[in-house]
Amino acid sequence: MEILQFALRKIIGGIPLILGVTFISFLLMVYYGPDKTYELLGKNPTAEQIESVRAELGYDQPFLQRYVTYLREIVTLDFGNSFSSGERVNSILKRTMPISLAVITPGFILGNLLGLVLALVAAYHRSGWIDKAIMGFSVVGMSISFLIVVIAFQLIFCSSYGLNWFPSRGWDVYSLSDYLRFVTVPTMATIFVALGYNTRFYRAVIVEEMGRDHVRTARAFGTPPAQLLYRSVLKNSLIPIITRIMFSIPLVVISGSLIIETYFGIPGVGKVTYDAITQGDQPILKAVVGLTAVLFVLTLLITDILYRVVDPRVSLK
C-alpha cells in the first residue's frame, strides 16, 4: 500500500518533466526540423496541392493546438501514421522495439556485470599489480573511440581479413543460433566500450565502502574475502550502483542502439529514429521522444523503490 501511494505520487510528480521534455522537443522539430511537404509532392505542384498536403501533415494548424494533439497521442498511446512510409507508428515500434532490446540487452548486462566483478577484484587488491593492470586496461578501453572499436571488431571478426566468423551487418534472426550469430559482435563492441567506464566507476564506489568501519568489523570477526566483498561491500554500495545502472537505461535504449544499429545495419528503434530525424518524420519522433520521457519517469520511480529494497534505512516518502 505504501509502495502504491508512493508510486502514484512519483508519477504525478513526473508529469511536469514529461510536459517540459515534449514541449521543447516538439518546438524544435516543428520550427527547426525538415519540412516534408515538397518531398511528398511531385514537380511543379499547384497551390491547392501544397495546401492539401500541408493540411494532411497538420502543418496548417497553430502550434499550441498541434502540441495538445501530441499530448493526447501520448495519453492514448496512438501516434498516427509515419509521414514517410504511411505505416502506423505503433506497428513500426512494435516491430523494431524487440530487435533493439535483443541487440542491446546482453551487452548492457554483461558490461555492467563484468565491470562490477573487475571493480571488486581491483578494489580488493587495491594498489597491487592486479589493481594496476585492471585500471590500466580500463583507461585504454575508455580512450579508444567507439567508431574505431566497431570498425576494428568488424575487421577482426566479420571480414576475410580476420577470422570471418560473423556477419558484419544485418539482422536475419529466426532461431537462437541466428541470434547469437548477429548479436555477438555488437555485444562485444558495447562491452568493450562500456567496460572501462563501468569498472572505474564501480571501483571508486567499492574502494570507498571498503574503508568503512563495518568492513573492518567484519574482518575482525574473520569474514572470508568472498563473503566480505558480497555482504559487507557490495550490499552496501548498491545505491550508487543501482543509480548508475538505472539512469543509463533510457540513454542506452535510445542513443546506444542508435550508434550500434547504424553501424551494424540492424533495423531497430535506433535506426528508425535516426531515419526519422533526417527525414523529418514527425509522428515517429513524437512517439520516440514521448515514450523516452515516460520511460525516464518510470525509471526514476523504480530506482527509488529499489533503494528501499536494498537499504532498510531508506523510507519511501
Binding site: 573492518r216 575482525a220 534505512r313
Partner: protein
C-alpha cells in the same frame, strides 16, 4: 606485571615493532612493545592519539593494513602459539573465535543492511558447527547476556533502529559469542553518553568474570581505567613508557608524562577554579623523533642524558611499576 602464580599467560607480546611506509618515509608506529596478559585480567592501554595503542591491538588480530604497514619483528603468542606471520586463512579462524575486538564507533561498526540477528548468527556459524537454529538460539541468549531487553524481538532489528548503547551491546554480544580468550576493546565507550558509558563498562566487567576472559582496554578515559583495570600500560610515540598496577599508577605515577596525564584530568570538587594543568608542547612527529627519550622535548626534568639516550623499561625503586625514564618521579 602482577603475574598470578602457576598460571600461563593467554597472550604474550614480545618486542613488537610495526612500521608504516608513508610518502615522507618509514614511520615506526610501534617500537618494542612487550606485555603479558592472563585470563581474567584487564590491561588498560593509555596514551594520546597516534601513540600506537590502536595499531598494537590491530596487530593482535592480524589486522594491520599491509601495505603500508608491516610487522618488522617481535612475536605475539596467543594461547601459546605465535600468530605473527600466520596465513590469511589461519588468521581468519582465530579472529572472532580466540580473540575478538570491539570498536569505538557503534554507530558505524555494524553492517547497516543486515539485521543484528543475522550478523550475530553469521559469526557464530562461522566459528562453530552450530546449525541455523542453534546459532539463532545462541544469538538470542548472547543478546540477553549483554543486557538487551526482549532479545528475541531485537534479533530482527537493523542497527539503525537501535540506540548507541544498544548497538555497543550488540557488538559486545558478537565479540563474546564464540567465547574468546582475549577481548580487545578500542575505546568502547567514547562515543556513548555518560550514563550509557557507565552501564556498558559495568556490563563488560561482569561479563569478563563470567567468561574468564583477558581484556585489553584502550581508552583516553583514565577514570574508566581506574575502575576496571588491574594493570595499566602508558604509551608515548610507539613506546611503552610506564607499566604498572592501576592502584599504584594513579596514586604514585613514576614517569613525568604519566604524572602530566593525571594532572590534566579536570577535578570538579576543587574549592577554587584553577587553570587546568597541561603538558606543554606537542607530541613529536613520528618521522623526526628526538634523539634520546621521546618525551625529553616536553619534560620539565629532562637533562642532557635524556636528550642523548633512550631510557629502557626498568623497575622503579620502591614500586611495582616498570618505567622508561632516567629520572622517575619517586626516585629523585
Amino acid at each position: 606485571m602482577t603475574a598470578p602464580v602457576g598460571k600461563k599467560p593467554v597472550l604474550t607480546v614480545k618486542e613488537l615493532v610495526i612500521e608504516f611506509q608513508t610518502e615522507r618515509g618509514v614511520v615506526r608506529a610501534v617500537d618494542g612493545v612487550s606485555f603479558e596478559l592472563y585470563a581474567g585480567q584487564t590491561l588498560g592501554i593509555v596514551g594520546e592519539s597516534g601513540c600506537g595503542k590502536t595499531v598494537t591491538c590491530l596487530a593482535l588480530l592480524g589486522l594491520v593494513p599491509t601495505p603500508p604497514g608491516r610487522i618488522v619483528s617481535g612475536s605475539i603468542e596467543l594461547n601459546g602459539r605465535n600468530i605473527v606471520g600466520l596465513g590469511d586463512r589461519e588468521m581468519r579462524n582465530i579472529r572472532g573465535r580466540d580473540i575478538s575486538m570491539i570498536f569505538q564507533e557503534p554507530m558505524t561498526a555494524l553492517n547497516p543492511v543486515f539485521t543484528v540477528g543475522n550478523q550475530l548468527c553469521e559469526v557464530i556459524r562461522r566459528h562453530t558447527d552450530a546449525t541455523r537454529r542453534q546459532a539463532h538460539a545462541q544469538a538470542v541468549e548472547m543478546l540477553a547476556v549483554v543486557g538487551i531487553p526482549a532479545p528475541a524481538k531485537r534479533m530482527g532489528d537493523y542497527p539503525h533502529q537501535l540506540s548507541g548503547g544498544m548497538r555497543q551491546r550488540v557488538m559486545i554480544a558478537m565479540a563474546l559469542s564464540c567465547n574468546p580468550s582475549v577481548l580487545v576493546a578500542d575505546e568502547p565507550t567514547t562515543a556513548l553518553d555518560v550514563t550509557t558509558q557507565a552501564q556498558v563498562i559495568e556490563q563488560m566487567v561482569l561479563l569478563q568474570e563470567q567468561f574468564d576472559m583477558a581484556v585489553i582496554l584502550i581508552t583516553h578515559d583514565l577514570g574508566v581505567v581506574a575502575e576496571t583495570c588491574e594493570d595499566v600500560m602508558v604509551m608515548y610515540c610507539g613506546q611503552v613508557i610506564e607499566q604498572a598496577p592501576a592502584s599504584g599508577l594513579f596514586t604514585r605515577p613514576s614517569h613525568p608524562y604519566t604524572a602530566g596525564l593525571l594532572a590534566s584530568i579536570p577535578r570538579i570538587r576543587r574549592e577554587r577554579l584553577q587553570e587546568l594543568p597541561v603538558i606543554r608542547g606537542m607530541v613529536p612527529d613520528l618521522l623526526s623523533l628526538p634523539m634520546g627519550c621521546r618525551f625529553s622535548t616536553r619534560c620539565e626534568y629532562a637533562d642532557q642524558r635524556c636528550q642523548a639516550q633512550i631510557p629502557s623499561l626498568r623497575t622503579a625503586t620502591g614500586t611495582d611499576a616498570a618505567v622508561a625514564c632516567f629520572k622517575p618521579l619517586g626516585e629523585a
